[in-house]
């Protein structure tokens, strides 16, 4: 019998960074699925919130980075409010997004794109939020 390492060495750094930035302990998750059941944005998600946590536990970061789920999350904190293990999944989603957009040139929302995305009624709050969330 050979021992299989769940987290490949070359992914360990990025996963450690995500855990550090989120301040959450992903090992506490017992996969009850309460987060996914209550997520109001789960309709179009290719990975449900509890699946994102499971993949993180398994070190499969590539599948998470490719998924659109992390961008569907609106940081509404419903999952965090209901998690029986007190994991704030919104913090983890944010940390994953940040590991992507903090790389040079990876901002998801660029200043030049803004005029095409706003209308005359859109509150400043939306634009400021968008920049804080998608631009570094």
């Amino acid at each position: 019998m050979t021992r299989v390492k769940v987290i490949p060495e070359n992914k360990k750094n990025i996963i450690d960074k995500i855990i550090e930035m989120s301040g959450e302990n992903i090992r506490d998750c017992m996969q009850c699925g309460k987060c996914s059941a209550g997520c109001p944005a789960s309709d179009g998600m290719d990975l449900l919130p509890h699946q994102v946590i499971r993949l993180l536990q398994l070190g499969q970061i590539d599948r998470i980075v490719e998924s659109k789920s992390i961008w569907n999350c609106a940081s509404c904190f419903t999952c965090a409010q209901r998690c029986p293990r007190n994991i704030d999944i919104a913090n983890i989603m944010e940390a994953i997004r940040l590991t992507i957009i903090r790389c040079v040139g990876n901002s998801r929302l660029k200043a030049d794109d803004v005029p095409s995305k706003v209308d005359c009624k859109m509150p400043q709050q939306a634009i400021v939020s968008g920049f804080r969330k998608y631009n570094k």
Partner: protein, 264 residues
């Protein structure tokens, strides 16, 4: 009654959500509450920085909190997003030594700020400082026979261990407020669900689905008007067009207040 508070408006209230502020200030005057706008408030950033390593994005909130504390006043907020950000930053300053130290090292205030200021939302001011019973006595035009649904959204309620606003799953503060104004509050299941928030800028299709759920729920329970405290919630609900389809109007809670107090 003569009550005095520091008041933090936020960027949206000076531009797209002027109604939210105007009706709040006019009503406050009638209620004998002095809301003194802070002189040099800065934008709160609209979203609370969730990553543990973000410090700079919390500074503007601390500046406002420290200033209100210096004056010995509570800080009143009106926009749900501003309230969320400032309240959570205040909690960090109270309990997270690392953040407290870095922020104070940077700001170099006359005294270190350690989360002493109390920040309350306008609705909390009505409930906890004035009291809904006293409010009801000041109503000049009771909003009789109006079936109004509260739309709480996310930012005032969650995470409840920090926000301490109301029960996060079954809140009652806005319903009690509606009742105090003489109207009939309608409880519907999706009143605490997210409208999609800032996804409005990038993923309108997701917002559409989320707002549709909210309106279907409200409509099923007989809601005729929705009130909210968040400019972005109001925008998302309005832009979806489901309100027109279901004959449900959307307004700020302060508009309702001003109307009932006879200052609209």
């Amino acid at each position: 009654m003569n009550m005095k508070y520091s008041y933090y408006p936020g960027c949206t209230l000076k531009t797209k959500a002027q109604d939210l502020e105007k009706f709040a200030l006019d009503s406050a005057k009638t209620l004998g509450v002095a809301l003194q706008e802070q002189k040099e408030w800065q934008c709160c950033g609209a979203v609370y920085p969730l990553a543990t390593d973000e410090i700079a994005t919390k500074l503007s909130s601390v500046r406002s909190l420290a200033e209100a504390y210096q004056k010995g006043e509570k800080l009143v907020t009106l926009c749900a997003a501003c309230h969320h950000v400032i309240k959570r930053v205040n909690e960090d300053m109270k309990h997270k030594e690392d953040i407290r130290k870095k922020v104070n090292n940077y700001l170099q205030l006359p005294n270190d700020y350690e989360g002493e200021c109390e920040v309350i939302h306008y609705l909390e001011m009505l409930r906890d400082e004035i009291g809904f019973e006293s409010l009801a006595q000041k109503v000049k035009k009771p909003l009789k026979n109006r079936k109004i649904g509260a739309y709480y959204g996310c930012l005032l309620l969650r995470p409840s261990k920090v926000m301490k606003f109301d029960d996060p799953e079954n809140p009652s503060i806005i319903e009690d407020f509606i009742k105090a104004l003489g109207a009939t509050p309608i409880i519907y299941p999706y009143r605490t669900e997210c409208c999609g928030g800032y996804l409005a800028i990038d993923q309108k299709d997701v917002v559409e689905k989320m707002t549709q759920n909210i309106f279907e729920s409200a409509s099923k329970y007989g809601v005729e008007e929705i009130v909210t405290a968040c400019p972005l919630c109001k925008y998302n609900l309005e832009i979806s067009g489901f309100g027109d389809e279901n004959n449900i109007s959307i307004s700020y809670f302060t508009e309702l207040l001003a109307e009932a107090l006879g200052v609209k």
